[in-house]
Symmetry: C2
Subunit: 158 residues, 2 copies
DNA sequence: TATTGTTATACTCTATAACTATA
DNA sequence: TATAGTTATAGAGTATAACAATA
């Protein structure tokens, strides 16, 4: 295979080899974007978008955490969290309580109502999961999850 | 394992099991979002965002296609494509030529300038790829790509 | 009537920079 | 000086609905 990866088709146009199919990063973006559309539908039932639900789960896993903790855990800027936290608080899925040690910060916790929303959505999330993986063996699924973890670690490495 | 997946921590707050880690769809969204950030940097060198580059590649792979073809190939609404196509035309990475059979539609083709942009970006894209997969064996990488294809097929199934 | 592409509009996710209050 | 959170702003990607031109 030569150095130029394209076949000339006319004076000003070219056709490349279809060589993006073998790129993990590129495919992850494509698949991730399609997944988001389904998650929008699933989480929409309780009034949340995928990112908002993701933050709700992080708070549930780290009760009493601060927004700065979430920024680190989700690897997003702290300003990105403001409208998400606001939305969750508006729906009363979380509660904020001012820290006694540091009056700039607020402890975050999932409320009973927030837990209900999670419980309500989880069956659909699991059903979606089965749709995604029903052509895979249990072993293939385990391997996929391990590979995704490897990729995520590589992305977070400085 | 009982039916309730949570341990009560106080009157109004709960802590769930960390059971999203085993969900392929959820992890794909997380990883996909992180990948996009890197792709923004990589494609930004030639003035494109990840979605715009993705459409440029599709046009390169399907010279002469119409916007409706791209909507089907990328699985997005036709209105989503309008600003992307406009951006690519603005940078002279593609050219539009009115179809002689159907004067509503425009054939799309990548220009020499567009090809240069692709060539310029590809080495960085491949380097990013190696970062993502350097903790994987060749076999694991192949398996991951196959799994992603399975997932994508499941997502596009009606 | 149906289709191609556009416009208007809206929402989510992301960021940077500047700000307030507090440490 | 540094940090927690907010505000203002911007860009990207997604959609729905209504429209014009054409089939």
């Amino acid at each position: 295979m030569g150095k130029t990866a394209y076949q000339r088709t006319s004076d000003d146009t070219v056709a490349p080899r279809r060589d993006l199919e073998g790129l993990v990063g590129y495919q992850l973006r494509r698949v991730g974007a399609q997944v988001v559309k389904e998650l929008l539908r699933i989480f929409g039932v309780v009034g949340l978008a995928p990112g908002q639900f993701s933050i709700l789960m992080l708070i549930a896993e780290h009760p009493g955490c601060f927004q700065m903790d979430l920024a680190r855990l989700a690897n997003v800027d702290r300003s990105t969290l403001v409208p998400m936290i606001e939305r969750l608080a508006q729906l009363k899925f979380i509660k904020r309580s001012q820290s006694e040690n540091d009056r700039r910060a607020f402890h975050l916790q999932v409320t009973a109502r927030g837990r209900k929303a999670i419980d309500q959505v989880m069956p659909d999330l699991r059903a979606f999961e089965e749709t995604l993986t029903d052509a895979m063996s249990a072993r293939e699924k385990t391997t996929l999850l391990r590979s995704l973890r490897h990729v995520e670690e590589a992305l977070l490495r400085p």
